[in-house]
Amino acid sequence: MWRFTLKRLLNIILTLFFLSIFIFFLVRVTPGTPEMVILLNRGGEIGGEEVVDIKTELGHDTSLYNQYVNWSKRMIRFDFGVSYQSNLPVLDELLSRVSDTLILVILSLAISIILSVIISFYACIYKGTMREKWIGNISIFLSSLPNYLIGLLLVLFFSIHWKVTPVYGDGTWLHYILPVITASLPLCASFVQLFRQIITEVIKNLYFEAARAMGLKKRVLYTKFLFLPCIHSFLTVIASHFGSLWGTIIVIETIYAWPGLGSYIIHAVTARDYPVVIGFTLIMALFLMLIYFLIDLLLRYIDPRQTQKDGQIKW
């Protein structure tokens, strides 16, 4: 267990190192250097002297190696510099917006997990009936719907036609309804598809039939012999969708003008606000990797077989 933890933490550090090198050089290779962007934001003319001034100010006049060392030293202290647009520290800017987005992410994730687990177990219990077929078809349909279509349709009907919910912004609980539905509908549908496969696999296992042959109570049978073996695969699926959910959230935030991280990042990206983009990337990578790591630890705790599977691929 400790070895695994240490290995994964080392892996995270190594990954961040690679990522930082990649981003550092990408910013320098791409057309439009940081100095230009700053000058454009300040509204000054792009003259020779000002560029040199900013270069010394940013420390960009030394060698690339020195620049990287200095830059990465600051990155380790979570000092991502100041935003070109607002001249405020990047970390503060990001942190002030993160709560709005996190609420959206957690709400939609929780709703879609609960709903999809219930629906997929329901479908598996009624296997071979029309209900199961319809659940399958609807989930395929919903999971291939693009988020913006769902979002636009919801806005069209609920906000414009029926005037039930506000069109955009945030504040009251009414504002949460449409974004959360938009995010969780396709997510829930794809969960249902994958979960149903997982449950059918578990039902096929001999130990489930053996448990039935033992005459175990319904509650014990379904919780210990059906749900417990599913949890491992469920969590893996959820973890793999957790990352892409953030992409979905960005689209949703732009649709509903949600004042969260997503719309801020899109804004920063279009304005070429390099410190914000870099800070966001590194923090996001660290955050997601830590989440994956925690899920892996949890899986190990739940499923004792996992420790055995480690050495499967060998040289």
Partner: protein, 259 residues
């Protein structure tokens, strides 16, 4: 018999749609780029089947002309990124140290979800189709590289590889002759399954204003244009998104068939 027809249904649909798109390009009376201020946001009629957008351009014509941007472009991007992924995945099977390096790189790329990578990349390179191409390329090759690497590892541990090694096949030749052909079918399946996802991703990027820039009649961009007029002219945004959905679903079903 019914099942057999159902099997070809997505392919037939796809063929029909591609055919109509080509016919549309040949026979449309309108220009997808020409601004017509007299016919702004007219609702669907016999003259303009899908109405016109805020600049008075025929939506149907723009959809027909935008098809190549929304369908052909993702296919090219997907092929390129799968090629990159396969090459890197195969390189990682050469040796232990190379494998460690490549897996570390793969990990660092897959630590951020691909759509975020695409957004960040498009942001760093500036919006446009070229940056979309690079963005998807950078974010999507990891999937292929990882799958190719894992399957080749499994193949590598199979007895026939040992017998090939015993009969004197090593290095690049071993990979080319024995590992690559066995890993190929999985990649082929994956390409079909991923096509819909890539279309969705690219259109989402355009919807965020990071993809193809106006006046290119890219469907995602059309949705972005129409979003502002959703209250008075919903067709401008809805029709392209419905088209995207149809194509994504067709590709999805085709992917399932191939599987």
């Amino acid at each position: 018999m019914v099942r057999r027809i159902a099997c070809f249904f997505p392919i037939i649909c796809l063929g029909f749609l591609v055919f109509t798109i080509i016919m549309g390009i040949l026979f449309t009376p309108y220009d997808p780029y020409e601004v017509n201020t007299q016919e702004e946001l007219t609702p669907p009629s016999s003259e303009h089947w899908f109405g016109t957008d805020h600049l008075g351009r025929d939506v149907l014509t723009r959809i027909v002309f935008g098809a190549s941007y929304t369908l052909l472009f993702p296919a090219i991007v997907l092929l390129l990124s799968s090629l990159l992924g396969v090459v890197i995945g195969l390189i990682s099977t050469i040796g232990r140290k190379v494998d460690l390096l490549t897996t570390a790189i793969m990990d660092s790329f897959s630590s951020i979800p691909s759509f975020l990578v695409a957004i960040i990349f498009a942001g760093l390179l500036g919006p446009g189709m070229v940056s979309t191409l690079f963005a998807i390329l950078v974010s999507w090759w990891v999937h292929y590289a990882r799958i190719v690497r894992n399957t080749s590892m499994i193949i590598r541990n199979q007895p026939f590889i040992l017998s090939a090694q015993l009969s004197g096949t090593f290095g690049v030749k071993l990979i080319r002759k024995h590992i690559f052909p066995n890993a190929l079918p999985i990649v082929r399946e994956l390409i079909f399954l991923d096509m819909g996802t890539i279309i969705l991703m690219i259109s989402s990027l355009s919807f965020l204003g990071l993809g193809a820039q106006p006046p290119i009649p890219d469907w995602g961009g059309m949705i972005l244009d129409g979003k502002s007029y959703i209250q008075i002219a919903p067709w401008v945004a809805l029709i392209p998104s419905v088209f995207i959905t149809i194509f994504v679903m067709l590709f999805y079903f085709m992917g399932r068939r191939v599987q």
